[in-house]
Symmetry: D3
Subunit: 304 residues, 6 copies
């Protein structure tokens, strides 16, 4: 396994600075954010460390040289919009942009992109399914042609009343993953596995590793703390941030020793990227960098 | 405490038969269903053991004599419609009928009715709140005038996709109860406390007994089993019946010894009514009666 | 479900006395032991409540009348020898006798017999398998022809050094059951499910109920207590009675509420027979009867 | 084992009434209180069901006849004063009275008395020990001569600030029992084992059964509930009633199935007497009787 | 948060050496002991890294320069005597000395001192309270005037028979803290929060962080191991060191990931000082230094 | 304690390379494998970092100089054959070789060798015992004469069907250790304590540290993960590798903080050697080295 981080937490740094920091802080890879340039639509979104808009061979060569010189690799190109948003114009735009991300990944010989499935959050999984198939069947084929694997993060994208009730990403449970892969069986279609989202959904985050061992294309290292006292007040029908908090690895419920133990035993040798979304560490760039350093110290006990 | 049962499980028996069975099976009280005569709108609804439509003093005398002769009392009159349904005509009808239930409770000197708050299940708690206040403030006053206490059952009324996402009863968590009682502080407004609904919401079902000790006007004895393997497949964002099953007391997760231990210590001496909604016991009238006998054997270990 | 008991614990009573005791103690069925007359070969074996040697229609009629008059039914005819013993003469004798048990079950219209698979305890499962298939394939066919279902008890028959290392019954784990039913798929071949043997094998005794729901032909209600301090001294490589003790239901580790909850939910409505093998209750006939009465009181909380 | 109760909870009943109630409620023995007539010095003390002051052979005959006719036996004569009180006059009085209790037990052929060791609660265990030895060495000899076994209850007699810090009974932990029996090794000196007092002391209440198997002369069936929220507020240095409540069997933390399972396996066949000290059941004589009936229903699942 | 250590474990080093070691071992602050010069009255006491007796501006400048040059800060000045000792002369002396510590903290612009409340250990909390108020009300005012915050460590100071029964520091439980802050509400009066003392008191060490978030002026990182086997022998009424052992962080029961996770979420950004009181690491200065290095390695996983 | 590793995992490195790697990777000692040169008989066996065949004073001087220059010490010489194999010729050979290992340990002034007891795996412990005594009584005397302590690893050497049923090493449980040390009480005879083998045997791996504190001559740091789902399928009568996997420290069930906490408190200050047998890290020499580096990072949190 290779320890990396998600570049979204360092929006104020240039690509060069991100890569240099990675190298210095002991990270061997980075998941680089590729949002279209412009205003972020939500927290942790809208970061552009590689601008894929007119990304060509020469740009690729520059980026690859930069990374090689720092001894850091790209784990994946990341872009996490809502492909199934009710706003059909937006849906078209994000689809087009995502294809550019895929093309850039191919040019960079990264071979891996990360994203969400999206969801019309006002509708049930069932109601979203036909549109999901319509959008994603050709999209997976597009990526497969370019030999780029897609890792869908298993985050429900449901935090507060804004995304209530369904959240903005269908791919949140093992039952749904099974259905995804039955309906679109391409080996290029897989998961960006993040155990933290399973914790607060009260789903065993170890067991699915065995079943989906061939579908884990990327992994995120984020943690969450479920506060029993808060949960006792609102219950699971409350909105998720009422009872849990995203935290750095080691500051939450995930048993990282066990998780990485099984991850290794299923033969996974890909990237494990720290995703910092811990409000206690977001006060300044210095704190966000400290969060990444602390996470590396913690995870390096369990990673070769 | 007095052991009773909810009469909804015996729709095929007359009031006399219900009462005689209660007596013979060792129950000392019954919560009598008072739905309007007609077709049931859902499972366990639509049962009429007392027809409150034109219920007068004479009817009350007949019922009271019947019960006295069997040595069985009425724990409450029960009617559990959706007061906040988007169908405004239906909302009017159920409100009118509920007032009759209250009047009957007063005539019968029972002093207690049981129901739900209702909810427009397509809307958030926040969006439902103004209408809740509008409907319930005068309704509680109406009951208070007649010295009839209302016990709101804490069931989310969310089982399958039909009630998704919000369920048909607002009163499902301690945080919401606190708000209810702050906004409508009448002592006639309280809970029909059923621990089973808290279990699958992952809410401690003991702790709220201390805080809401003065608001527990009635109690249900139902149990649930959460199947970890099923929950691991769909998570808490699945629909609740995908991962839990309502069961008889003793066949689920509730620690009845502890629950009744604390219920006694907060000074509760009212009815504890078995509510049978266990599909394994619904094959025949004989099975449903057997369910009630078994539940009595189980609970009598913990109840004086 | 019907509460019964295994008659082996009452060897000093005649069939009539067994049946009368069952009736009086609140049991609705009995699993009747059908060992050949003669000396018991081990504790709890060698009991003959029905002598199947020359058992004919008339005998069947007598027995059925006796049971009918007491309102007690036969859950199964039981005979638990070692079909795969290295002593080939003994193996022949027990096979012949078991066929008589099957015939008697057919004549009595009981339709159910209970036994073990047997095992050459000095050999591995793998080494025993060919002989198992050779003996059992025709035996299951023999029973199927007579419409008699066979319930194989899942006891490893490994207690002390005498049965070391393999025990005298192959059918001890879910993996082995799966293989049994794949190799001999007849619906007449199933389990006599006893949760207690799974407890000390550290196997979840609930989970297999779902997978093997169609194979549960009979059930035993026995419990065990694992003594952690004793286990800490010898470990699982010690002989099983060094760290666990068979006990009456309620005096061990089995969560009977949960076990019977799921047993009901998978649609099982057959017998649940108390098997008394608790040394603390074996001092006298009076104690053994008391054990059965106590077990009935305990289990009747969870059984209709 | 024989199910009994401690008569202290029925001070308003005569001996005859106590015995008749025992018989009717399904109890087979009673621990009879033998305080000197007069005012109770604390809750549950001062009850006199047998007045031992001038108790002679004829009195014994009357009592024994009364019990025989009801089919109820005496488990022990009980008197629980503070033998080591700083008030030396009181200490003399209670010692003299206790000798009369022992004599009465001999006359009644009960052979068993129950009490405390006592303690000067303002002093440490160490400081109390010399006086303990001085008082108890001859006292045990006195009982041994009359073949009366003494069962010392393992209650710390520390509830509120009044008994702070040491409590009024030295015999509260396994380490102290070991020392007691090393210093006074008579087989007539043993324990009246009550698991509930060990629960709130955070001592395993099962493990000592094995070590002290020959010293268990009597047993009490009382339960306690430790309220985690209350304990979290004051900690174990708070006074015990700040964080626990004595409760009826089944309404507390004791795992009665396991406790009685091991109690049986160590060969104990003596009395198990319900001791009611549950405030939720003390409102009236009817409630106290109901408490005893409920306790019998609960315990009869685990006792032959 | 800033990682530091309590200087008491290095009594053989000069201030300069302490500071240099801190810097080299990766610590960013130190809590400096300020006992009066002379003989230690108990283990870990009597250490003087800053002599506050005649401490003036010039001394302050020297110390500050020394620290600045090493890049290490002072977390607090510490002095932990018994302000409420029955020896009134001693009480006067310690009060006078503590005022000097406060003055020194002001001169050094540290703004923080750490200590105990003290207690007459032979008396109850209640009996100590009037004297506590009399001593501490003006003392807190004295500190407030100088803008120095006081962090009271929550150690019961009860280890062996010597401090029995009450211990030498009142401030040991959340209930007592609440009362302290209600009676002396100054914001300069707060806690030096050490989770380890709550562990063996069986108090949740996370929950109070939320309630007392504004009162946490300093924190200690010490751990304890509770040995269940030892506790089972003596119970909570034994003296605390009979069942627990103070240990380095990571070698005990504290879940440091969770503790520091919540500590961060309540907004705490102050010092977290390792307090070494682990007998396994006290054999030599080298071992005590190794203990501090090991603790830093352990804690740096969870601290930025 | 001194952190080391077992050299068996680096068979492709020369002694010099092993020692240099140890030094560079932060290890302070190494357990050096001393198998006779030749083919390995099983995984992790057959490694020869010191060839003891004709090992003399001069060889010892060379080795010691090599180690001294790297600042690394030898924790023990290791050789783990089966002394009690049914192949008597082999038994003679291994005995003779082991004596050479002991002699080499004496020459090197290491004073410690590590091995197994051996076992005829087809026979019970009881049946092996006489031969164990015959072989080991003189062998221990031989070592004692040379002041070399023997540490017997507590591995059952039972993994798959090949070693079924008994495994190839008798010394697997506390009960057996007790018997070993009673029958051969020499202080030179002790344990090479590895907690991981106790985990899957369901034996507390902390408790024996107290009882056998004087017998722990060496310790291994290996971990195991028990996969509950796999255990649920085969139970403890399955072969051990069906339900558990050896893993690096931190990737399994062992609570290293607690284990090393108690190991320190019993006064152990010897070597703790990482034994890498984790299949996920065996792909290449680079991975095996990475495994050792990771293990050091993990364990250094808990070791001085």
């Amino acid at each position: 396994m290779k320890l990396g981080f998600v570049s979204a937490i360092l929006p104020d740094l240039s690509l060069r600075e991100v890569v240099e920091f990675a190298s210095e802080a002991g990270y061997s890879c980075v998941e680089l954010m590729c949002w279209p340039k412009g205003k972020a639509e939500r927290r942790y979104a809208g970061v552009t460390h590689i601008d894929v808009t007119n990304f060509g061979r020469r740009d690729a060569a520059v980026v690859r040289k930069l990374l090689a010189s720092a001894g850091v690799s790209i784990s994946a190109l990341g872009y996490y919009p809502n492909f199934l948003t009710p706003d059909r114009d937006e849906a078209k735009r994000v689809l087009a942009h995502f294809k550019k991300v895929i093309r850039a990944a191919a040019l960079l010989e990264v071979g891996r992109v990360t994203t969400f499935l999206g969801r019309d959050w006002t509708k049930s999984v069932e109601e979203n399914w036909p549109r999901f198939l319509k959008v994603w069947t050709p999209l997976v084929a597009f990526a497969a042609q370019r030999e780029v694997r897609i890792g869908i993060e298993n985050c429900p994208m449901l935090f507060t009343g804004d995304e209530w009730p369904g959240g903005k990403n269908l791919a949140h449970s093992p039952r749904i993953w099974r259905r995804m892969f039955e309906d679109i069986p391409s080996e290029y279609f897989g998961l960006n596995y993040d155990p933290s989202h399973l914790v607060w959904q009260h789903i065993d985050y170890i067991k699915p590793l065995w079943e989906f061992r061939d579908r884990i294309h990327h992994a995120h290292a984020k943690d969450v703390r479920v506060d029993r006292e808060r949960l006792d007040d609102v219950g699971i029908l409350g909105t998720p941030l009422q009872y849990h908090s995203p935290k750095l690895p080691g500051l939450g419920e995930v048993n990282w020793g066990r998780f990485l133990s099984v991850l290794g035993d299923i033969g996974y040798s890909g990237p494990v990227c720290v995703e910092v979304e811990d409000r206690a560490y977001e006060g300044s760039l210095a704190m966000r960098k400290a969060a990444l350093r602390q996470s590396a110290r913690f995870l390096m006990q369990y990673i070769p």
